[in-house]
Symmetry: C3
Subunit: 489 residues, 3 copies
Amino acid sequence: MGNCCEILGNFFCGQKNTNIRISLPAVCFVWQIAMVILFGVFIRYDEESDVRKWLEHKHSENITSDIENDFYFRYPSFQDVHVMIFVGFGFLMTFLKRYSFGGVGFNFMIASFGLQWALLMQGWFHSLDPATGKIYIGVESLINADFCCAGSLIAYGALLGKVSPVQMMVVTLFGITLFAVEEFIILTLLHCRDAGGSMVIHAFGGYYGLAISWVLYRPNLHQSKRLNGSVYHSDVFAMIGTLFLWMFWPSFNSAITDHGDGQPRAAINTYIALASSVITTIGISSMSQKKGKLDMVHIQNATLAGGVAMGTAAEFMITPYGSLIVGFCCGIISTFGYLFVTPFLEKYLKLQDTCGIHNLHAVPGMLGGFIGAIVAAAATVEVYGEEGLIRVFDFEGEFADRSVGTQGGFQAAGTCVAVAFGVVGGAAVGLILRLPIWGDPADDNCYDDEVYWEVPEDEETIPPVLEYNNHMIHKHQDISESNFSVEQS
Amino acid sequence: MGNCCEILGNFFCGQKNTNIRISLPAVCFVWQIAMVILFGVFIRYDEESDVRKWLEHKHSENITSDIENDFYFRYPSFQDVHVMIFVGFGFLMTFLKRYSFGGVGFNFMIASFGLQWALLMQGWFHSLDPATGKIYIGVESLINADFCCAGSLIAYGALLGKVSPVQMMVVTLFGITLFAVEEFIILTLLHCRDAGGSMVIHAFGGYYGLAISWVLYRPNLHQSKRLNGSVYHSDVFAMIGTLFLWMFWPSFNSAITDHGDGQPRAAINTYIALASSVITTIGISSMSQKKGKLDMVHIQNATLAGGVAMGTAAEFMITPYGSLIVGFCCGIISTFGYLFVTPFLEKYLKLQDTCGIHNLHAVPGMLGGFIGAIVAAAATVEVYGEEGLIRVFDFEGEFADRSVGTQGGFQAAGTCVAVAFGVVGGAAVGLILRLPIWGDPADDNCYDDEVYWEVPEDEETIPPVLEYNNHMIHKHQDISESNFSVEQS
Amino acid sequence: MGNCCEILGNFFCGQKNTNIRISLPAVCFVWQIAMVILFGVFIRYDEESDVRKWLEHKHSENITSDIENDFYFRYPSFQDVHVMIFVGFGFLMTFLKRYSFGGVGFNFMIASFGLQWALLMQGWFHSLDPATGKIYIGVESLINADFCCAGSLIAYGALLGKVSPVQMMVVTLFGITLFAVEEFIILTLLHCRDAGGSMVIHAFGGYYGLAISWVLYRPNLHQSKRLNGSVYHSDVFAMIGTLFLWMFWPSFNSAITDHGDGQPRAAINTYIALASSVITTIGISSMSQKKGKLDMVHIQNATLAGGVAMGTAAEFMITPYGSLIVGFCCGIISTFGYLFVTPFLEKYLKLQDTCGIHNLHAVPGMLGGFIGAIVAAAATVEVYGEEGLIRVFDFEGEFADRSVGTQGGFQAAGTCVAVAFGVVGGAAVGLILRLPIWGDPADDNCYDDEVYWEVPEDEETIPPVLEYNNHMIHKHQDISESNFSVEQS
């Protein structure tokens, strides 16, 4: 921030101004009104959720039962993904001792804001009907919108406690936009498969957040060190997030895969990889600590790495033991990341990564992209069948002649595109965020809910008892009651 | 309570008696035995869950696949609704610093008791087979029973911390009964559509709770003021409730809508409206506080107003931007309610509303009813198609000739019926609850789990350390250990 | 532990060694590598999740729609069961004031480890294809693997806080193995029906844990008494576990029942029984305490007894009022167990049961087995229909001539087998666990996360305020700051 400060002069004299009473409402209302207008112009129901079109569709396609509606294939998975986005990511970020409101609350804000913009951006790129100029949305659009938000929420993990909500609105706005563009390049132009988003969600989101955090480096962040840690119950809250992410990750990776065999295969592969991650995470965590004690940071995060790394390959015929190996390796890599890489990045690369998204999303996501490339390139007619290869890799239309080797190459290229978009986009957004107008906290004021939230005063718990005690104390020692304003949480 | 006190004389002399050792078990056992008898007389499996009838039904209807069983259309939504009722409502009410047991525990009791009575009451009104005199239940009956409980749980929100569990049993018993009657009038006699229950659940439940609370006005409630607030971690617990309600509201509004297009449409509309509510709630909350700080009360509650207000219109063709506008407005209205209306009601109308259900359920529910009326009245053949209009508004049998304009009028009338039932029924039940036999707490004893729960003593956390400290303190200061019985949560 | 100590001599001189830095990683890595190899040799996708086989299967069976894939019948229930295993059991065990990390964290470890071994063990016993020597897994295999873990997690409930994670790995390894064998005997050889596992999961798991705990009796456990209790917020955390178990139990009991009528019937029966349990639990709990106060231990546990006891009978035509009666009785029995039997067992039978699994799983599970036997024996052609009897009890192949009376006898025999396996297997495993190599804690060190976890230091919450206070205190009283290291969460 030093340079910026010198250049912009008196913007920064004295305490930073964290007053967002004008900027936050302004952003909220301007954007929400814009959403109303854009939804009015562009967004309509698709043929599965519009009563007239569904009845016509049933007649024309000779569909005999309403159960054929895509809703019944995808809605349970959608709700699982929805829980991951709001409770999973939200509670995972409650682990700090005094930033739980910000963790779960701003997560809520980012996702609610982002999913609206995602419906538009993804609609323009993927489902704009050129005949009518409208975007037709259904249940799958909702899943994709939630996925799109995940990228920005991952980025929030690196920035947690160091940015203002207005800054997060900016991060989200650009994050969703970049996401839609890279997703279009990777899925449509390069024709990659990435149902669980190792590339488009995790690698992109991870590097996007890391690049922003790198640009926003705070040299004096140690002044907030006292708040950059957990307390006992905040770690238990964070386990709610971890477990809901972990349990529903099979739904995440299978939510938009092929009907029929695709969904169970993706779910099974993810389930197996995640179980394996847990065991190797525990092994490494125990090995690294005095007396073999486990570290909650590892259990909360590295156990999920198997799910991230299966994002691309889960829908392929990676085999159950292949999934087990992926989870095995990623649990180890991710835990090592928390032990050695995050401290290294902070010390030598000036990269402050609050939640360690480098180890949970960036690296496993990138690995997941390459694993997908290898599994795709290794696909054979023997395993998939002729029809199966076409079905799984969507070798139709202009891609009918693509070989699995070529597909593998494009999958690898797609991973690189995702990382490049994350790094370049994040650096650019980081520069925008260095403008001194966003109300971010000072270096000695980070990780503190007091800055953006009305925090309840926790003076007393069972007042009658404490009153008595205080009374006793007053009598004997003449200490003002406030000396005993101990916490009860 | 003044009048009542004078009339009933020495019932009230001295401290209130909160002993419920006889009354609560008596109510539980009498009612549970009554349930066994009534279930024995009336309740049977329907043709989708009875093995003999299902096999006959499949043969007679030429159903080829078990997937046509209604279970597969509705069970995922049922489980989401179930989570909303028990975890959503339950944890939303844990926000008070020392009433979390009562919030989540009595919620559990009310819903478990209520759903049994609801199966009977709704069965008698809606699915009693006159030929056999039996009620046939299936998965949709379970969803409706959960919905029915929601009305009484909303009412509990207004009464939280001020009533005894025995009183809540009475509130639930009458609440379910009134619900079944008003639902019969609104859905069957007036032939309204109200799949997500803006009218029958939220408007009714909200005004029912408010009327009870108004009759039970406690002039000296300020004596419990020290406990009428949150602490840091209780606010985080409440966010669990908020998020599960928010995430699963699309399932709530789509759980009993039409198979096929009806369920995805209701889910999409609700999803969009809720996202919009979050953003406007944050805008108003920030605008209203010094330095733009957000208030957890608003985030926990007003963000849900969009879901309440879409309860009726969600299954109609309200369009995505229509949903966005509904959420937009209701987020604002609800937050303003928390800022200005709740304090006003308490001060001038003597209405103490612990959770602010006026702003989250009563007003958005009533608005939702009128929004539904407008959207119904504005329906056109062009948008719905001939067949679609009949499908969505159920213009069949004796209602085959009803126009959409007439339907809109009946929808509006239904809203008024729901409000009237809530107000009148609540006032009557409130009078019953003023009898001094229910074991409710005194005005200086509200919002305190100590009254009805064995609360663990929180003397020490890591005893060895504290013991050492206490030892030190003893030596130097001669203060008994209990003086330091500080809280640890 | 006394005998063992004498025999093994100097192993035990002085403080117990709880260092697991070598043993835990060793177990994790050896086992995880073994899993990779065994999965590689044995496990393959079944025909519903293998793209080639599914396409062939569709062609050969003339299946027109992908919705016929078993995934769409079972996946929503699978995810509910998954939540019960990881969040339900996990959070139910967070109730201790300083063992929440161990409760939810080791639960996570046990289940992740166990489900892999369960896929193999259950595969070998139930779905090994003799032609290929492979195990073919699908969504139902995942549900069964989760079920299998439940047995070991129940056993963990009895041992909570008194064993090391390495010991729990051993308990799980043998627990899964024993489970697969007894399940094979009960379901395949005796041809019992036990969809929700009253016998194979709850009775087995309960007695398995109790037998282990009995062998591991700690005479001086009272030395850890200060930590064997809850604090306010840990009880609220435990309610998360209770509620997710309670809400999703209908999915647990219906997850692997027959397609079509079987799943809704099992869900309805369980839903009704659970509601009834809650009310009678509250009645007895209130009746047993001074002033009728409720005890959180009962609400957290006994409310679930109805679900346990319906594990076998839920898929039968037990009738709704039959379910209500089962829940009614089991709520009472389970609460009485917590009030009288657990203290009795501890005092006179030297059986220390941390979570009271005797009352929640062992007894209701055994009762559930016998209830299933009675309901099976009472089945009639009139109620089930000819075809229905065959469908529900699977009277096919070599069992085509079995009568319902005989079936009832075999169901009862199956219950005894489950209990016998639990008791004998548990005693044997307990003896293994008495070897002094597992790193278990000393008697005065139980129920303490400090032993196996890096626990955050909770010295201060809002440091500026406390610093000020401490400063004041220093000035006036010359007490070192650490005296006030009071807890904050």
